[in-house]
């Protein structure tokens, strides 16, 4: 029997409301949707970062479900404590969910996240990835892509923005043999909603990595957040995938990619890129897709 949550059936209740996120904020949409799917049993842990900065200013508190700010490094470890504590005091029908940005997850919080997955704690960790430390004013994180201009990776004549590729956190998490991990994007909300629902029913640790563009940091108009997230998938710089039962699965395997230039040059952070820089990104993309198509087990059936 399936009563999946869809755009039509998703609750009208708001759990993250009245906050002061910027216009067009992708992260706040990801958090809003996640809490709508999880409902009032969600006990959310958010580290220092955009969402805690915009939603937790006493006496203006914006979560109608139980929510707590953790230390920057401590999303996953506090989640572990919340889950164990809730169980210890006899609470039932709850879900401990972490809602952390890319810096809080891939950089300063990766040790605690690794520990939680290693213990297989019964928690859901959602990383909303806007590809830099946006709350502090657009500084490079481990998930900032190659070439992106940030305030700590300026683009000049000698260096064209960030020099290193984006860490592959989805596969790092999967390498722990986690019960469930997925990538998602706010450019495909039905897919994101499905994955949250699926992850919430997993016994053990589940991880969702959702791309959530930041108009300010990416240099796009505030009404193009969803569109740029879609372009990122269409041009192959992001993919929708899952890791479950020890196997990777690609959810969408496009036959061709849209223009990578169109995606990049629509954003202020990539405006400075030259043809050679774009070529590097295209090559990284093609290498990655070749590996996925060669190694991930469901490709044959999908094709």
């Amino acid at each position: 029997m399936s009563n999946k949550i869809t755009a039509k059936t998703i609750t009208d209740s708001e759990f993250f409301y009245g906050h002061k996120a910027c216009a067009g904020c992708g992260g706040s949409l990801a958090v809003r949707i996640a809490l709508k799917v999880l409902g009032e049993g969600a006990i959310s842990v958010l580290p220092a970062g955009c969402m805690s900065a915009v939603g937790f200013n006493y006496p203006h508190l914006c979560f109608s479900n139980n929510s707590i700010i953790s230390t920057f490094a401590g999303t996953a470890s506090m989640l572990t404590g919340v889950e164990a504590g809730a169980r210890a005091v006899g609470i039932k029908n709850f879900k401990a969910v972490g809602l952390a940005g890319d810096g809080g997850t891939a950089d300063i919080g990766i040790q605690a996240l690794s520990g939680a997955i290693d213990r297989n704690d019964d928690i859901l960790y959602i990383c909303y990835d806007n590809e830099a430390y946006m709350n502090t004013g657009i500084q490079k994180s481990g998930l900032t892509p190659f070439g992106a201009k940030t305030t700590t990776t300026p683009s000049g004549e000698n260096i064209h923005g960030n020099l290193r590729p984006k860490k592959n956190l989805f596969e790092i998490v999967a390498a722990h043999d986690i019960p469930y991990a997925a990538t998602a994007s706010i450019g495909n909300l039905p897919d994101f909603i499905n994955k949250i629902e699926k992850a919430s029913k997993i016994k053990g640790t589940a991880y969702i990595h959702v791309v959530a563009p930041c108009p300010i940091g990416w240099g796009i108009p505030v009404n193009e957040t969803i569109e740029i997230a879609r372009k990122m998938m269409d041009c192959g710089l992001w993919y929708l995938a899952e890791y479950e039962n020890g196997k990777f699965k690609l959810n969408k395997n496009p036959s061709d990619f849209s223009s990578i230039e169109d995606y990049l040059l629509a954003q202020g952070r990539f405006k400075h890129l030259e043809a050679a820089d774009i070529e590097i990104l295209a090559l990284q993309r093609d290498t990655k897709w070749a590996t996925i198509r060669k190694n991930w087990n469901n490709i044959q059936e999908e094709l």
Binding site: E40, F56, T80, A84, A86, G115
Partner: protein, 389 residues
């Protein structure tokens, strides 16, 4: 009640068992390790029913305990030295959030140079982190303060975490005969943890939020007030403990032969026992000397100190600590009370035992001699040097 031959760490673990914490996060560090080993065994043999969580660092140990406490669970963790410093961010988080966690700290020197032996620079460097800090003298007091720690921390007037400090190796690894209370008596002393400061599905809350300049000072004042109020709770806890178990530690401080003493030495932790013996020796020779054990340094026992020291001629502070560029931190604190209350006496500081250096009977006798004859104010014991401002 049973008797057993236990190390300080073992005794503390027994106290934790009797306190029935619901969530325990553990990460090993010398010389704390045997506490978490004993607790793991207790969980294995079901003598302690608790969620035992193997975290991957001290930062996570305390972060996890905060999360569990925020759900209304009684929590425990333990650390030492580098681990205490690694979790420093979470120390202030726990106290600011008013989460009544109890943590054991095995006092150990801090790097560099690396050193695993006992001094008190680790916890004293965290004096301002908002935790109640108690220093215990022997294995029995270790066990007893594990129980009392929760009774103090969880009092709604206090709602502040408690750090119980045991001198590394000298206390954590030294075996003594210890009385282990019955679970029935322990339960009579320590009721289950109840708090309003928690998240629940019936009454959802947003916790650990931001507070800007308009209200922040109010939060900090309330936190400070709770710490001051804890002094009364500490004394009430000691009295209740004495009533049930027949052992009293005197509350914030414990004096020894101070009533008519002209020269009083102030100590923290395990060195107190030897100092007490030296006091007895000198008393036999007719010297009017006494001892004041500082059990709690936060909250600071100002009134106790004034009452104990006001008729003394000179006092000394013996501490395993140095605040580089000044003097021992305990000495600074004691001098502040003396100055504020206009006490007329000489004060001296004896820095000793850093990195586990032995403090001998002769050292302590010489310290009393120094109090009687006068001399430099800040003295490094065993180095033959003094440093005065």
């Amino acid at each position: 009640m049973a008797k057993a031959f236990l190390s300080g760490n073992d005794a503390f673990a027994e106290g934790v068992r009797l306190a029935r914490p619901q969530v325990i996060s553990i990460y090993p560090i010398t010389p704390q390790t045997t506490v978490v080993e004993r607790i793991s065994e207790m969980v294995e043999d079901s003598s302690l029913k608790s969620e035992l969580i193997h975290v991957e660092s001290e930062h996570s140990a305390l972060s996890c305990a905060i999360g569990a406490s925020a759900m209304g669970a009684r929590t425990f963790t333990a650390t030492s030295s580098q681990g205490l410093l690694y979790m420093a961010e979470c120390l202030q988080y726990a106290s600011g959030g008013r989460f009544p966690i109890v943590m054991m700290n095995a006092n150990r020197s801090t790097a560099l140079p690396w050193n695993i032996y006992g001094d008190q620079r680790d916890s004293l460097s965290q004096l301002d982190c908002g935790w109640i800090q108690v220093y215990v003298e022997d294995a029995q007091e270790s066990l007893d303060m594990a129980l009392q720690g929760y009774h103090i921390a969880e009092n709604p007037l206090v709602s502040t975490p408690v750090m119980v400090n045991l001198d590394g190796f000298v206390l954590t690894h030294t075996y003594e005969t210890v009385e282990i209370p019955s679970q029935t008596d322990a339960d009579r002393f320590l009721p289950p943890f109840q708090t309003e400061n928690k998240m629940s599905l019936d009454n959802p809350k947003n916790l650990a939020f931001s507070v800007g300049p308009d209200n922040n000072m109010e939060f900090k004042y309330i936190q400070h007030k709770a710490m001051l109020d804890s002094r009364r709770v500490i004394e009430e806890t000691d009295a209740k403990f004495a009533e049930i178990f027949g052992r009293s530690y005197g509350g914030l401080t414990q004096g020894y032969r101070i009533d008519d003493a002209d020269y009083i030495l102030i100590t923290l932790g395990s060195i107190t026992g030897l100092c007490r013996e030296v006091v007895d020796e000198l008393r036999e020779r007719g010297e009017k000397v006494g001892l004041l054990k500082l059990r709690f340094i936060r909250p600071f026992p100002s009134d106790d100190l004034v009452a104990a020291l006001e008729s003394a001629k000179a006092i000394g502070v013996l501490e395993k600590d140095i605040s580089f560029g000044y003097e021992g931190t305990v000495y600074t604190n004691v001098n502040s009370v003396i100055a504020k209350n206009g006490l007329c006496l000489e004060t001296y500081n004896f820095i000793a035992g850093l990195g586990g250096r032995d403090i001998s009977r002769e050292n302590i006798t010489a310290i009393f001699r120094h109090l009687q004859t006068g001399g430099q104010h800040v003295n490094f014991i065993g180095l033959g040097v003094t440093i005065d401002e």
